[in-house]
Symmetry: C2
Subunit: 371 residues, 2 copies
């Protein structure tokens, strides 16, 4: 396998600035970790599936830098992004005699990254951690920006912390072992960056969709790099999501309702985001912000990527209830990220009456045939 030259994206956050390295043959290379602080040791948090594939090569590389390297296994799946898993990681850190200078490595997808990152945020009120994302979704989204957390029965990521990693290692080689369903789910977030911030990138995705779906590494590497560049610039401008960062949640208010309403783990996050983006685009049309052709273009790309366009029938009232629990909601008022044009998005309050037709349209049989 040829090596793709690695590229670096800096997330500019003052004293907490860090680099995302995007490339191939990164995980097992000692040079990847050379600039990290040594501290008193390293702890790798992973799950059994990913761990079997990559934990040993990561640990071997880390042993060239850290005197002590321990591994902690967590259960695999969104349903385990909960209090119990968080406590299990903390207990394991205590057993591993971790201290304030121990670096935690999150090796896995979004669940491992969010869990390990939140454990790193809480343990001794904060220890350093490195994201080593192994899914496309995690490489382009969850590993960057410092959002960590766990789910609550009534809301996704309802409990958590902003805790920036000290580095992100996005090795596209690992995407070769990713189940096709997860690769497709990751493409939802890639499409999102095009939709909200860069219409030329959206056109690039449209033109290169078959290469991406075929797992061509050069195409994936560019998709990861451009996605990380967009996310890094948004996060640098608004770390705590008081303004522009909220646009990264395009499609996510609907998506979180789908995920919570069907039980975390039934839908993949990316699948829910795919459907949610089509719904948010439809809502944008109903608000008169964009024309129907642009919403159709977004929906067509989502569908061509293999993402669902039909939403689960939770009932309109349950959708509204779940969306009112969304972190973007305020005083019971619904707020959505809507499109204002190609590559432009904004957070807006939307009346429930305006949202209901969108929900109805997407849970109907009719929508299934559109996909």
């Amino acid at each position: 396998m040829t090596t793709i030259p690695s590229e670096t994206v800096a997330v500019q956050l003052g004293t907490r600035t860090y680099s995302i390295e995007v490339g191939s043959s990164l995980i097992g290379a000692p040079s990847t970790y050379q600039a990290l602080p040594r501290g008193s040791g390293a702890v790798v948090v992973t799950n059994a599936t990913v761990g079997a594939l990559y934990a040993e090569q990561l640990a071997a590389a880390l042993r060239t830098r850290y005197a002590q390297v321990e591994t902690i296994l967590v259960a695999d799946g969104e349903a385990f992004k909960n209090w119990q898993s968080l406590q299990a990681i903390v207990d394991a850190l205590v057993v591993a005699r971790a201290d304030r200078s121990t670096t935690v490595f999150a090796l896995g997808g979004g669940v491992v990254g969010d869990l390990a990152g939140f454990a790193a945020a809480c343990f001794m009120r904060g220890v350093p951690y490195v994201q080593v994302p192994t899914t496309l979704l995690a490489q382009v989204d969850s590993s960057v920006g410092g959002k960590t957390g766990i789910n609550h029965a009534e809301g996704k990521n309802l409990i958590g912390a902003f805790h920036q990693p000290i580095a992100v290692v996005a090795d596209v080689d690992v995407l070769a072992t990713l189940p096709p369903r997860e690769l497709v789910a990751g493409l939802a977030e890639v499409i999102k960056y095009g939709a909200i911030a860069d219409d030329a990138f959206l056109a690039w995705i449209e033109a290169n969709l078959s290469a991406l779906l075929a797992g061509e590494r050069a195409a994936l590497a560019y998709a990861v790099l451009r996605s990380c560049q967009i996310k890094a610039s948004v996060v640098a401008a608004d770390e705590r999501e008081s303004g522009p960062r909220a646009t990264l949640n395009f499609g996510h208010t609907f998506a979180h309702a789908i995920e919570t309403g069907t039980g975390h783990g039934t839908w993949l996050h990316g699948e829910a985001v795919g459907c949610g983006m089509a719904m948010a685009a439809d809502l944008s049309v109903r608000l008169g912000l964009i024309g129907p052709a642009h919403a159709e273009r977004i929906a067509a790309l989502i569908s061509a990527a293999g993402l669902p366009l039909r939403a689960p029938d939770l009932g309109v009232e349950r959708y509204l209830e779940l969306m009112r629990m969304d972190k973007k909601a305020a005083a019971g008022e619904l707020r959505f990220v809507v499109l204002e044009g190609p590559g432009r998005a904004a957070l807006r309050p939307v009346d429930a009456r305006t949202v209901i037709p969108t929900i109805r349209a997407f849970v109907s049989e009719r929508r299934a045939s559109a996909s």
Copy 2:
């Protein structure tokens, strides 16, 4: 009861700067809360004991500012500063339909403040909170500086976050209902400020000890004010405890071992700190940093305040094991805040062999008679 004029201490932390108001008749006065952001409501977290005394007057005052005011009760005592209580608060915030703009009010001692503060730090990745401390210990220490957290079986405050309150309301009237044992425990932290930062304040405490023990409000108000001034200046210089803030942990490495070793809640935190400060002063003498007369002066004041000088006999090995789990320890090396002179302290690595004689001296019968 006459009103003591209130004084304000600012904790200077840039955009997160906030005020500590020290005075009397504050909790039930609507004016106390006039400058706070309204948001979508207020949630008071308290326990049954404190709640019975002050929750209604606090809620009545808050209703003049907030459209919605809910109350959440947590169990009373250090043993309940755990995962279960944290989850219970989060669940109750969900039930109360709290959102990102809801302000949490922590009405109680250190346990309520640490728990409610940590819940506010985690809920939706951070909501604003106000500390309304009702013990002397919480007024002079735990309510100021943004340290929040819960205990782990292997270490006190092992899990937590730095999350600054948006205001602290220290109403000395509430100290009248404080059990004498808790008033005494609070004096330990007051003595600490004199020992580590202000020898003139230490002398003032010596001269006014009987007024403080008698609960005289003017004396208590000055003790709270001066303690908060010292803590505010240390926190402003070093919010995340990378340097000088560590000196606030004078006596705390021994204290945390005593608290964890005897089971959280057996010793009051202030009692453990009292004994721990005498031990740390003794250790400072053994390191040749101060003369025995200064350590004796500290021990005499601790004893005169009614605090214990004899440490529980956990066994030397268990003490060392617990102290190696301390958050200040690094790579298994023990570190202690030691005195370097009157009003001067520093964090230093100390060899276990040097610490053992101090542990032996304080667990022995001999020390009991010194108190």
